[in-house]
């Protein structure tokens, strides 16, 4: 069966390609190195500082008399930037409650990000975390608020429901790719739309609505179906760590993980070596979907968020960013997830305490991604080593 997605054509070998870039597939080679990632974050913070300066009325005003009292401009800018970024730090790691907030926001990003990472390693771009999360939410929510079951069992069933339905939804895209060659980017995006209408359909039903209400809003899950909490932090977040360890083991230590990496690097070669490329596509997408289901269970079963059509927020899409920033490795995904969780939690305090426009935290995230995606720019600015070196490190880092 032919595979339309790969860039390397089996019939037309490219003898001029150097050995090391054959090791890393074309998809992987533009992923950033650690240095690039850090440089991108620093650069984004610098640009963010300029944005904070010019979104502060006092700073703008001081520009009108810049030549009489230039110091004012620098002083006010300094104050504004310091206020903003200190609020960012305070709001993300400054106290117990802000740490809880950071971790709570990071955990679903990490889980869904791992799903994107896994699919990525199998050579697929999984845009469908959003839809997989929504389906997972429908299952977890329904089991959570509709049934009365003993503590523990209820949680397990609801969690299993989220994981199974998320996995099925992811598996559809994998199946379509394996059997028909349909591109997973297109199918997962379309399945996101379908997912949104599926939840809207269910929210329109009496059973999913609150008594005496027609609003598209479900009740929260019963207490018996929630993760236990310690110091205000629900313990579902531990599952994110477990998932990261599991995916690491899977990718680096298991036979199946080797198959995934082999298919991701070169499906033709993997097929020639006797691996079932179709099976890898399907299973990788199923597991990716299961991870998305796990991600949304943090919201539905962890924080008892009621189901709405926006239950997944933008986590499914941020997860793609997290996975890319994390270089599609489990550890990197965890770190990137924590960074984004911190930016999101700290962005809130920036808004509430320092009056920084709410868009700024999102602009920071976007800038980081932008700079990550334009490594040449960042390397040029920071005088980092050139291309060849980066790819070399990359190939090794990916375990060849």
């Amino acid at each position: 069966m032919s595979d339309p997605t790969t860039t390397e054509k089996p019939v037309a070998p490219e003898p001029e390609r150097p050995a090391r870039s054959r090791a890393a597939s074309s998809m992987q080679s533009w992923l950033p190195t650690v240095k690039d990632s850090v440089a991108a974050i620093v650069l984004a913070l610098l640009v963010g500082a300029v944005l904070i300066m010019f979104s502060t009325p006092r700073v703008i005003e001081s520009l009108s008399y810049f030549f009489s009292y230039p110091w004012d401009f620098f002083k006010f800018s300094g104050i504004a930037v310091f206020d903003g970024y200190s609020a960012l730090v305070r709001g993300s790691v400054g106290s117990g409650s802000s740490l809880v907030r950071t971790i709570e926001r990071a955990a679903p990003l990490i889980c869904a990000g791992l799903g994107v990472t896994l699919a990525f390693r199998a050579g697929m771009f999984n845009i469908g975390a959003q839809g997989q999360m929504i389906l997972g939410a429908v299952a977890a929510g329904y089991i959570g608020f509709h049934y009365d079951l003993p503590v523990g069992l209820h949680l397990l069933l609801a969690l299993a429901g989220a994981i199974v339905l998320g996995g099925l939804w992811g598996g559809i895209a994998g199946f379509l790719k394996a059997r028909t060659g349909a591109h997973e980017v297109i199918t997962t995006i379309m399945l996101n739309y379908v997912g949104r209408f599926v939840i809207l359909f269910f929210l329109g039903k009496e059973t999913f609505q609150r008594p005496n209400s027609d609003n598209l809003l479900s009740p929260p899950v019963n207490d018996s179906a929630t993760f236990p909490a310690v110091f205000g932090l629900h313990l579902g977040v531990l599952l994110a760590i477990v998932a990261a360890l599991g995916i690491w083991w899977l990718l680096e230590r298991s036979t199946w993980g080797f198959e995934i990496r082999a298919v991701g690097a070169n499906p033709q070669a993997a097929r020639t070596a006797g691996m079932s490329v179709s099976r890898v596509y399907i299973t990788a997408m199923v597991v990716a979907g299961m991870l998305s289901g796990l991600a949304v269970s943090m919201m539905v079963l962890g924080r008892q968020d009621p189901l709405t059509d926006q239950i997944a927020g933008s986590v499914g899409f941020d997860a793609i960013t997290v996975a890319l920033l994390g270089r599609a490795t489990p550890l990197g995904t965890v770190l990137a997830g924590l960074l984004f969780g911190a930016l999101s939690a700290g962005g809130l305090t920036m808004q509430a305490a320092a009056g920084v426009p709410p868009e700024l935290a999102q602009v920071l995230q976007a800038l980081i991604v932008l700079f990550v995606a334009a490594p040449a720019l960042v390397r040029g600015l920071f005088r980092l080593r050139g291309d060849g070196q980066a790819v070399g490190v990359e190939a090794k880092g990916w375990g060849g």
Partner: protein
């Protein structure tokens, strides 16, 4: 180092462009954060002055720039800042998962009153109100059966002005077909559509006419919905479908997506009626095809709730915006609407009858 120099040059040159060589407004202590700036101090003096009162607001995931109910509610906060001299702070929500955090962050900023926007924040607001008895909470578009003493629901009987709009539409329709569509099949949307349909029915009854409404059936609770408040394209195709079915007046109740409905009205030379705000102000480019707008005075309600809190008069009784208290209203007719005096008198008469309770709507 070259980079640093470049950045410095960039900053300096932008300073040059933006700056003149003006005078500093306040030489004594410009760093004091409480000092009002020149532009603010020239504005009208506040009618009331509560500098120690801090009024705060949390949006739902639409954000304060949604040209719809978040934005109108936010206008209420801004008016309160100007008219009541209160301090303000606000947080935008990106996702429902953030609601509780966002409210708590504002509680930590020592807000005296916190207004949340939209029914999606219902749970989070109730939980926060129970935990923080000293903070006055109010929530737009939502009401509780039993609210704590520090939680006020702000609701709007938009069926009343929509009824008037429906009557007006029926009177102005030449094809005998008028259309309406919503963003989502939820009560805060369909209440407009139900009022609109009842207004048309009233016209049919009074004038022995047979004007049809397409897009909403209050009996079966079914109708035409874009299932999206953002996409102008979906609004446009919904409206165009109705226009091909003969509708010559379109009443979109779909927030920004409804702008597509007005676009379709403009393209096909039919009338539109706008919702939430006066369309001739908020969507000026479509003013020429607007008959009128059904206004939902969230800004009025929010400012009132803050005023009550600042004056220690806060209560938990649900606020219902009506034609009577000005919480909802019909906007001035559009410039091209050409409403004759007789029709206008009828509308005013109906308005009075609703206020007097002779007609019940909704």
């Amino acid at each position: 180092m070259k980079t640093t120099a470049r950045v410095a040059a960039l900053v300096c040159s932008s300073a040059l462009i933006l700056a003149g060589c003006g005078e500093r407004s306040d030489d004594s202590n410009a760093s004091g954060s409480e000092t009002p700036t020149a532009s603010e101090s020239t504005s009208e003096a506040p009618k009331e002055d509560h500098p120690d009162y801090k009024a705060c607001m949390v949006s739902d995931s639409g954000g304060f720039d949604d040209k719809s109910f978040n934005q109108t509610s936010y206008a209420g906060l801004q008016n309160a800042e100007e008219n009541l001299g209160v301090k303000t702070a606000e947080v935008e929500s990106n996702a429902p998962t953030e609601f509780a955090d966002n409210i708590n962050a504002l509680v930590k900023q020592n807000c005296n009153s916190i207004t949340t926007v939209g029914f999606l924040l219902g749970d989070a607001t109730l939980a926060a109100a129970k935990k923080n008895k000293k903070v006055n909470f109010s929530i737009v578009d939502f009401a509780y059966d039993k609210a704590p003493a520090n939680l006020k629901g702000l609701t709007f009987n938009t069926a009343e002005p929509a009824f008037l709009a429906g009557y007006l539409a029926a009177a102005k329709s030449e094809t005998g077909v008028v259309g309406t569509f919503g963003g989502l099949n939820i009560p805060t949307v369909t209440i407009f559509m139900t009022g609109f349909v009842q207004g048309v029915e009233k016209f049919n009854e009074d004038e022995g006419a047979d004007v049809k409404v397409i897009g909403w059936d209050p009996e079966s609770q079914k109708g035409s919905f874009t299932n999206d408040f953002e996409s102008k394209t979906k609004g446009q195709s919904s409206a165009e479908e109705m226009i091909t079915q003969g509708a010559d007046i379109i009443f979109p109740v779909a927030g920004p997506a409804g702008l597509g409905g007005l676009q379709a009205a403009q393209d096909n030379d039919v009338w539109g009626i706008w919702v939430d705000t006066d369309g001739c102000v908020s969507a000026e480019e479509y003013c020429d095809v607007l008959l009128t707008s059904v206004m939902k005075g969230m800004d009025v309600a929010v400012e009132e709730a803050i005023r009550a809190g600042a004056n220690d008069e806060f209560d938990n009784e649900v606020y219902v915006g009506t034609l009577d208290n000005g919480g909802v209203a019909l906007a001035p007719y559009g410039p091209n609407a050409d409403i004759d005096d007789e029709l206008d008198a009828t509308i005013q008469d109906l308005r009075q009858q609703i206020i007097d309770g002779e007609i019940t709507v909704g």
